[in-house]
Assembly symmetry: C2
Amino acid sequence: MGCMARPVRRSGTRQPSKRYHHGDLPRALLHEAVHTIQRDGVEALTLRGVGDRLGVSRTALYRHFTSKQALLASVASEGFRMLRQELDEAWTAAGRGAAGFEAMGRAYVRFAVRHSSHYRVMFGGHLDPSQRQAIADDQRANSRDESDAFGMLVQAIVEQQQQGIVRPDDPQTLALYIWSVVHGVAMLAIDRLLESPREIEELIGFALERMRTGIALPKS
Amino acid sequence: MGCMARPVRRSGTRQPSKRYHHGDLPRALLHEAVHTIQRDGVEALTLRGVGDRLGVSRTALYRHFTSKQALLASVASEGFRMLRQELDEAWTAAGRGAAGFEAMGRAYVRFAVRHSSHYRVMFGGHLDPSQRQAIADDQRANSRDESDAFGMLVQAIVEQQQQGIVRPDDPQTLALYIWSVVHGVAMLAIDRLLESPREIEELIGFALERMRTGIALPKS
DNA sequence: ACCTGAACACCGTTCAAGT
DNA sequence: ACCTGAACACCGTTCAAGT
């Protein structure tokens, strides 16, 4: 363990350190938790385990998280933030509209598959209602236009209604329906009911096509 | 504890007893497990707890189930059996066809809401793959036409394709899509993201309508 | 055949104590 | 300010022993 030159810190710019032992333990704990869940499942996550693997006492975690639940809530919160960002990027990169909407759908399922540990914690019912509410509030407060991932979906629908390519039903209800479809596909995918990536891509493609037909403005 | 007249048992007709202590402990354990999950969630299920509540030692369970996992697998298995039966009844009672299909969709979500503890165990990722496979095999073996709930759905689709009211896509893929929709709605409903029963009924109604439009045979 | 009680190796969490 | 070690009240599971 040689001693390394430490970068000067200006007040308030607290940059992340790569070393956890004396560095950014909260971030390291979060990363290790995600890694463990990804490898062995949520049930296998153990505070003693993450402590050991980080070379730290099994109670060190309590300096940064109030409980195991709080650690899981942080995983979920990080997941929602990443999901929103990836949906946003997909929507914008595809030039919004119908193409952007399809890109969002694909991005959603891809996120669930690639970050299945985050996704499981986000929607697996491991969080109690109060924590879930806290995360949702936090999410809206920290996004520039005060909307979370679901809010983004609603906005995308409204925009397409104005373009005359989506039927003029209640946007909230439409959003719930669409979320049901992609969430269902995502669950099928990450539960390994679907084997290959190709199989998943095929189903999401099919689902988005049928979904689009179902919500399209009927030709007058 | 007075002594009660016990009904005579003919061989092979082993009828369920209301008393667990000397009666049908496996069934009592299963019932108590479901009840506990329904009230406090899967994480709160504890072998010691069910033992206590049944007035039985905490290791008595091991005479009838190999492990806690096996107990959960039994809950799931019972759930799949009930689901298949309720879908079957809905489909038949509504006279099959398009009406029967809609009835199946509603029955599916209603099952998830009413038996949310079963549903959570069935699809919450609490079972490991080997047990899940065993349940699926058992399910097909014990149904008269060798099809589980998913198989029923496929059959219903094929029948509607023959009637010319559903587009001639691959029935398996169509079934996966439809399952995604109802599963997504069910998850939204039981996670209390939807408050009132009316709200749930409205969403499932809307979802089935949009889904039907999406999979209908296009007018030539 | 069915159930018990003690024992074992694990948990999350608290708290006084160390630096 | 941050971390540790012992302690506490819980787990699932095993196994010899009871009836």
